[in-house]
């Protein structure tokens, strides 16, 4: 039962930049990324701002065009090539793959009632035939997302952030998708609410057998929810592994630095963190070789000239670093 639902190979997404009529540059937001997402898994995608994680998520939903490489969606009923989807096949894919947004305020139209918001995908995709059928489906999903059915007549302004996020989740689920991309879906929520939404996502995933791609900048949230994690830096995939393995033994210096940068909840554990110097370079002006070499404490000549490939050691723990083998167990000393 380890079939891949999403299989992306050497995927790149570029955007033309420059506002002028004539000048066009290409910004490679996602560069040569290969990921495989197992059916029924909770796949975490971690990175800082500018890492391309949101773009990768949207590319897999065909919300932004894939410029190079290939991505396949296989769920037993259909086998789709995401990069070239169009027409009826694209409509079909929309039913199968959905997005949950970050900002629970911007994601809901202030002019529609909760019922209309959740019903919109059903109406657009013509999934239900009659109004009664639509209502029944909306109520079923709303109940699953622990929304008060009495509140369906209300408008979004009546709700707090956590409730809005549950509405947003209900809308994403109503068409019965197999694959859900949750883009920073708890980042805007307060800590006391965040856990509630995370638990809801987990429960829905196991109840309905869905596959999640959970995009987040927060490692501790990812560690708690996901069973497989991929780390991105400047449009590249730098490391991917099952969660426990990744957290027990990170291999890429960037992943190690990310872990140690999380502020510890232990007041006596101060100053242990190994800090990275510098900041993530601009995606329009990328460094040569390994994209991380400008901040890496272990960079050698080879890192500047040659870009590392994602290496697999067979255990599902892949890393793209020239020196990962020699660095096992070595903490970055700065």
């Amino acid at each position: 039962m380890s079939d891949a639902l999403i299989r992306a190979k050497r995927l790149s997404v570029g955007f033309p930049i420059g506002n002028g009529l004539f000048r066009k540059d290409i910004l490679k937001a996602v560069n040569n990324v290969s990921v495989t997402i197992e059916k029924g898994s909770f796949f975490g995608l971690v990175g800082e701002s500018g890492s391309g994680k949101t773009t990768l998520g949207r590319a897999l939903l065909k919300a932004v065009p894939i410029t190079e490489g290939e991505a396949r969606y296989t769920d037993g009923e259909v086998d789709l090539d995401i990069a070239t989807l169009e027409g009826a096949a694209l409509k079909d894919y929309r039913k199968r793959a959905q997005l949950i947004f970050q900002d629970p305020y911007a994601a809901l139209s202030p002019r529609m009632t909760v019922r209309d918001i959740i019903a919109e995908p059903l109406e657009v995709m013509k999934i239900t035939k009659t109004r009664e059928e639509t209502d029944a489906r909306v109520r079923e999903i709303a109940a699953k997302c622990r929304l008060n059915l009495e509140h369906l007549r209300r408008f979004p302004h009546a709700f707090s952030g956590g409730q809005r996020q549950r509405i947003s989740i209900a809308r994403a689920l109503v068409s019965g998708p197999q694959f859900i991309v949750a883009d920073e879906s708890v980042a805007a929520l307060d800590v006391s609410i965040q856990a509630d939404v995370l638990n809801l996502l987990k429960q829905i995933q196991s109840d309905m057998g869905l596959t999640f791609m959970f995009i987040s900048h927060d490692l501790s949230v990812v560690a708690h929810t996901c069973d497989h994690v991929a780390v991105m830096y400047l449009g590249r995939l730098v490391e991917t592994a099952p969660t426990r393995q990744l957290f027990a033994q990170p291999r890429h210096p960037y992943t190690k630095a990310l872990f140690s940068a999380i502020p510890s909840l232990d007041p006596d554990d101060r100053g242990r963190a190994q800090k990275l110097t510098g900041e993530i370079p601009s995606p329009t002006n990328q460094p040569s070789g390994c994209k991380f070499h400008t901040r890496c404490p272990f960079a050698i000549e080879r890192c500047i000239t040659e870009e590392p490939e994602l290496e697999s050691d067979g255990s599902g723990h892949d890393v793209s670093c020239h020196r990962w083998r020699e660095l096992i167990g070595v903490e970055p000393a700065i």
Partner: protein, 331 residues
């Protein structure tokens, strides 16, 4: 340690279309020189409003109760902050003895001015420095907060700097007047983790060096654990727990603080279930009666929770909390 600032019975309401909204409800605390206090709370807890009150900086529709009193102890004697009216008197709490850094550094730099011009202007406003002295000091400060090539950066505009650099420049600007009290309002929230770690480090160094008092406002308990000596936890405008950082984080006494810590995903135990605090934060228009937390509390002890405001209970010499659980135990 001598007291730097004292806040007594601070109550602050905002006049809105829907009536008076309570933002801060009878909050008292004090801060000693060189002490770092973490002010923790979620949205609507009134933590930012409290901090702004220290600089007498809240919007014009803010109403302070007559009992509210904020005393700042400077070298020239105590200053009653809330009685200050004239801009020349307010200087002492706005950039003089008190400085503030914000979550969004872009907002505190004027877009049409270079970083240096603003720093120099501020220095000249608060001291009798000449322009060249002020410029020299500004470059020194920028250098001190880890901005490389400070002599060149000083003539750049804020939008030309990266996010982390901007935050550093703001810290440099806030510290250049050598304030006695620094208020940091979510200074790392908008930053990436790796940059956040750098900024936290920088702030720790600066505390040692300048020996000022810091009020560190954040929603992130991890950041507090890393920076603060003492923690104040706020919920819906009330101070519900106060104590040394170790004691509050390791043995939280108030059910809300306990809930917050339980809700936090922890890296050392990946399998542990996350326990959310039930319910939602009530809207400011629907302030619960009695203990403001009783609508979400799992440890209700009596009817008093929903009808009586809990009094502060001293757990030990330094750790106190406002919860009916301890009042029951005491009687």
């Amino acid at each position: 340690m001598s007291t730097l600032i004292e806040v007594e019975n601070l109550t602050l309401q905002f006049k809105t279309d829907e009536g008076l909204v309570t933002a801060v409800d009878n909050v008292s605390f004090s801060l000693a020189r060189g002490e770092v206090m973490g002010l923790v709370g979620e949205s609507g807890s009134g933590k930012s409003v409290t901090a702004k009150a220290l600089m007498h900086l809240n919007a014009s529709n803010a109403v302070y109760s007559p009992e509210s009193k904020i005393t700042l102890h400077t070298e020239d004697g105590p200053v009653d902050v809330l009685s200050l009216r004239k801009p020349s008197d307010l200087k002492v709490v706005r950039g003089g003895a008190v400085s503030m850094i914000f979550q969004e550094p872009m907002a505190s730099f004027a877009p049409a001015m270079t970083v240096g011009k603003q720093m120099i202007e501020q220095l000249q406003l608060h001291s009798s420095m000449t322009k060249s002295e002020a410029r020299e000091l500004s470059i020194e400060m920028l250098d001190r907060v880890g901005i490389s090539d400070a002599g060149r950066r000083i003539d750049q505009y804020a939008f030309e700097l990266s996010g982390g650099m901007r935050q550093r420049a703001m810290i440099a600007m806030a510290l250049s007047t050598k304030p006695k009290l620094l208020i940091a309002d979510e200074p790392t929230t908008a930053l990436d983790v790796t940059i956040q770690a750098q900024v936290i480090d920088l702030m720790k160094d600066l505390v040692d060096e300048f020996h000022m008092g810091i009020i560190f406002i954040t929603h992130d308990l991890g950041v507090v654990a890393q920076t603060a000596d003492r923690v104040n936890v706020m919920y819906l405008g009330r101070l519900i727990e106060e104590g040394p950082v170790r004691s509050v984080i390791r043995t939280p006494k108030h059910p809300y603080t306990q809930g917050l810590i339980a809700a936090l995903p922890k890296l050392d135990d990946l399998g542990a279930a996350l326990t959310p605090v039930p319910g939602d934060i009530p809207s400011p228009l629907e302030r619960p009666s009695g203990c403001v937390f009783h609508t979400r509390c799992g440890q209700i002890v009596s009817d008093a929770c929903s009808s009586e405001r809990p009094v502060e209970h001293q757990i030990d010499e330094t750790h106190k909390t406002a919860c009916h659980i301890y009042a029951e135990a005491a009687t």
